[in-house]
């Protein structure tokens, strides 16, 4: 790499005179890697310290400011065998991290309080209150109150805040009955303590809080892990551009530090990292990540280019523009805004259960109070029984029923190469009726491969491969890969046309069909592979034409076939009809549409939604972004355009398509388990609530019932691990 690098965006200054940088490191697996990296970096002059985080595959390096240049650290790591990519933690990351820390603190406080109050309660249950004057019991109750009240006030905050927000918005969520139950349990216990009564429920309230907080912590941790991983991916994808600074020098700059009006150099074979207009230069660009169209488009001065497009043949100088003023981006952004507005506010299964559950519980408590009053129990006793009903029905298991399943299923999917952006994505995935695929980059592998390798003599392929190694053109790379050639033939490159060399005294050319005058040979190949780009090899004896295209992902056929068993499959593509038809035929998909604009895709999704089909959209392009937002649920490959990735509910990694099928299968199973868990906790309530209504519930029974049902739903949730 010849260009200088500008990494100033990533450098932090934690202390005076100390600079620090966070890097994502590839290939860190075990303790030996930790040692190698930390020791290796410390030997570098000027480095104060380095700390590897194995869980998130990151390293933080600190050095004395001015003692070394940041790129030297990258070089050092590269030399150690660990390519590294700098990244700047964004605000969302730190907010999520702070939320997790806060939940952990709450959990710690709740656990401390539960243990100590249990210590006192168990003593009471075991008979410590059998002395006649009950002074010990009162003392223990007061001690419990002393511990429980401040601890609940602190550890219950996440629930109280969320419940208050829901009530303010005029709706009910699971946190409303939780907050009410906990608060009333404490109030009742305090009242009983003051009145020298026998039963207090401090332990139940705290145990409830602890179980629920454990669920929340797991949930938050899952979300942060997915987010960390996504941040790492972004860093590894290295969105950098060669910014041309005054004097015509190129400086490698992260795109976050590039502003409208800057001039950027895009060399042949590189991906364009910014939106802009071509200032000068002439080239062909592959816009398949942008529009789904696989045919390269010729661009010259004045043409608009988009981030994500691949520059094929010549160097371009691109003037970065604001997003406005570019037809395609404007259209996509407008559609996106509309689609997000219309995205139905999805009600999560737990909140749906809460909407049904909370009124029933509260009415039962009210009826209990009135019932006991009618039979002449006195308002005080009636109130106590009514509140025990609320405590015993407080949805401890209900609150764990859904998150526990989500955490387990998301963990299992993570190991299979699928990242969920949110827990509710799992619920929406399970409801998907029709599965809509984009073609380019989704069903097909974004890397081009040689399609007609079987028709080409090995000697020709080897020759073409050696020659291709000397070219930077992405299509040449596909030929070089297919041939397995190692030794490059040094050739002269004609930008945008091909390479030419003398091989054993003969003139050999590899390049576009026109460059090799191979139009006659190209015609039959073009007919056989209508979606392929053609490259020709010309020797004095013969001309050979290579068809290069984005082949199907290796397991696309099996995955689509397995999905087709339970769902309708459609292909909606922005590519030409011939190319789409070929893929559809190969996959056995009957319904496909081609030449679609972003708004056409949305129209089709709307039709499907209106018919109650709940579409799952799988797509990667900039042109898919509005459709991904408009669909009931959406998945993107990690190679997708940024704007598409941001809209998707889940991302899948790697070359294989199988994670999409896994996602659907796991989601269906997870949903079944969620419903099962909700039923389990309802059954528990059906048994416990009548006992409470009749006034038979003691604190011991409440504690046993609560922990019993929580453990039961957690164990059941563990079954989400395999589909």
């Amino acid at each position: 790499m010849t260009a200088a690098q500008d990494l100033s965006l990533f450098v932090r200054r934690p202390l005076d005179g100390v600079a620090a940088m966070d890097l994502v490191v590839e290939g860190v697996h075990c303790g030996a890697c930790i040692n190698a990296i930390e020791a290796g970096l410390r030997k570098q002059a000027g480095v104060r310290g380095a700390r590897v985080n194995l869980a998130s595959k990151r390293v933080t390096v600190e050095w004395n400011e001015g003692a070394l240049e940041p790129p030297a650290i990258l070089e050092r790591l590269e030399a150690l065998g660990y390519p590294a990519h700098p990244f700047a933690a964004n605000t969302v990351d730190s907010v999520e991290r702070a939320a997790e820390q806060q939940l952990m603190r709450c959990l710690g406080v709740a656990a401390f309080a539960t243990m100590n109050v249990m210590l006192l309660s168990v003593a009471l249950w075991a008979g410590a209150d059998s002395d006649s004057n009950s002074a010990t019991r009162d003392l223990f109750h007061w001690l419990s109150a002393l511990v429980a009240l401040p601890c609940v006030a602190y550890a219950g905050m996440p629930f109280f805040v969320s419940a208050a927000r829901a009530l303010k918005a005029g709706s009910l969520n699971m946190d409303v009955p939780i907050s009410l139950g906990v608060t009333l349990a404490l109030a009742l216990s305090l009242f009983q303590t003051i009145a020298h009564e026998r039963d207090a429920y401090f332990d139940s309230a705290l145990m409830l809080l602890m179980f629920l907080l454990a669920g929340r912590v797991l949930d938050q941790r899952m979300r942060r892990r997915a987010r960390d991983f996504a941040t790492n991916l972004t860093a590894v994808r290295a969105d950098r551009a060669l910014k041309l600074v005054e004097g015509g020098e190129a400086c490698e700059t992260p795109i976050a530090a590039i502003h409208p009006g800057d001039l950027v150099l895009v060399r042949a074979g590189e991906r364009i990292a910014v939106d802009g207009a071509v200032e000068d230069g002439r080239s062909e660009v592959d816009q398949s990540l942008v529009t789904g169209e696989t045919m390269p488009i010729a661009v010259s001065a004045g043409a608009a280019v988009y981030a994500g497009a691949l520059n094929l043949s010549g160097a371009l100088r691109v003037r970065v523009t604001k997003e406005a003023g570019q037809a395609l981006l404007d259209e996509v952004n407008a559609l996106l805004a509309k689609a997000m507005e219309q995205r139905s506010s999805y009600v999560r299964i737990a909140d749906r259960a809460a909407r049904f559950y909370a009124p029933v519980v509260h009415l039962t408590a009210l009826a209990t109070f009135l019932g006991w009053l009618l039979v002449g129990a006195g308002w005080q006793h009636s109130l106590i029984v009514a509140i025990t009903v609320l405590i015993i029905t407080c949805p401890c298991a209900l609150g764990l029923a859904v998150p526990a399943v989500q955490v387990v299923a998301a963990g299992a999917l993570f190991r299979r190469g699928l990242l969920l952006n949110s827990g509710e994505a799992l619920e929406r995935l399970a409801e998907a009726g029709t599965i809509v695929f984009d073609k380019t980059g989704t069903l097909t592998d974004p890397r081009p491969t040689l399609a007609n390798g079987a028709d080409i003599a090995p000697a020709d392929l080897a020759l073409a491969g050696s020659l291709a190694l000397s070219s930077k053109h992405p299509l040449a790379k596909a030929i070089a890969d297919a041939s397995g050639a190692k030794a490059p033939l040094s050739g002269h490159e004609f930008p945008g046309r091909g390479v030419s060399t003398l091989h054993h005294g003969k003139r050999v050319k590899l390049g576009s069909v026109a460059f090799c005058n191979a139009e006659a040979e190209a015609a039959p190949v073009a007919a056989a592979f209508p979606d392929a780009s053609l490259i020709a090899l010309k020797t004095p004896e013969r001309k050979v034409v290579f068809a290069i295209r984005q082949g199907l992902r290796s397991d696309a056929r099996e995955t689509v076939a397995s999905l087709a068993r339970g769902h309708e499959i459609e292909i909606l593509s922005g590519d030409r009809r011939a190319a789409v038809e070929l893929v559809a035929r190969e996959l056995g998909v009957a319904r496909f549409e081609s030449d679609l604009k972003p708004k056409d895709k949305i129209e089709r999704l709307k039709t499907l939604s209106a018919a109650g089909k709940r579409p799952l959209m799988v797509g990667d392009g900039l042109n898919d972004a509005p459709a991904l937002a408009a669909a009931h649920v959406s998945i993107s490959p990690v190679s997708a355009a940024h704007i598409a990735q941001a809209q998707a509910d889940a991302l899948f990694l790697g070359e294989r398509l199988a994670p999409v099928a896994d996602a659907v299968n796991f989601a269906v199973k997870a949903r079944r388990l969620m419903v099962e868990n909700l039923c389990l906790s309802l059954v528990y309530n059906a048994i416990a609530a009548p006992l409470a209504v009749l006034g038979y519930v003691t604190p011991l029974i409440a504690a046993l019932a609560m922990s019993g049902s929580s453990v039961l739903v957690t164990l059941n949730a563990l079954r989400a691990r395999d589909a």
């Binding site: 194995l54 710690g108 006192l120």
Partner: protein, 53 residues
Amino acid sequence: MNVLVYLVPLALALGAFGLAAFLWALKNGQFDDLDGAAWRAISDDDLPEDERH
């Protein structure tokens, strides 16, 4: 029952000590890298260079 006079405060103090330790560990970043901690325990980088294996 006089034993309660010091046993109960003792129990509470022990619990509070545990809580304080947990909060300190959390603040100190001890839970940031659970995978790495498992490996660091068996690394022998605290030994002089010639005694490592």
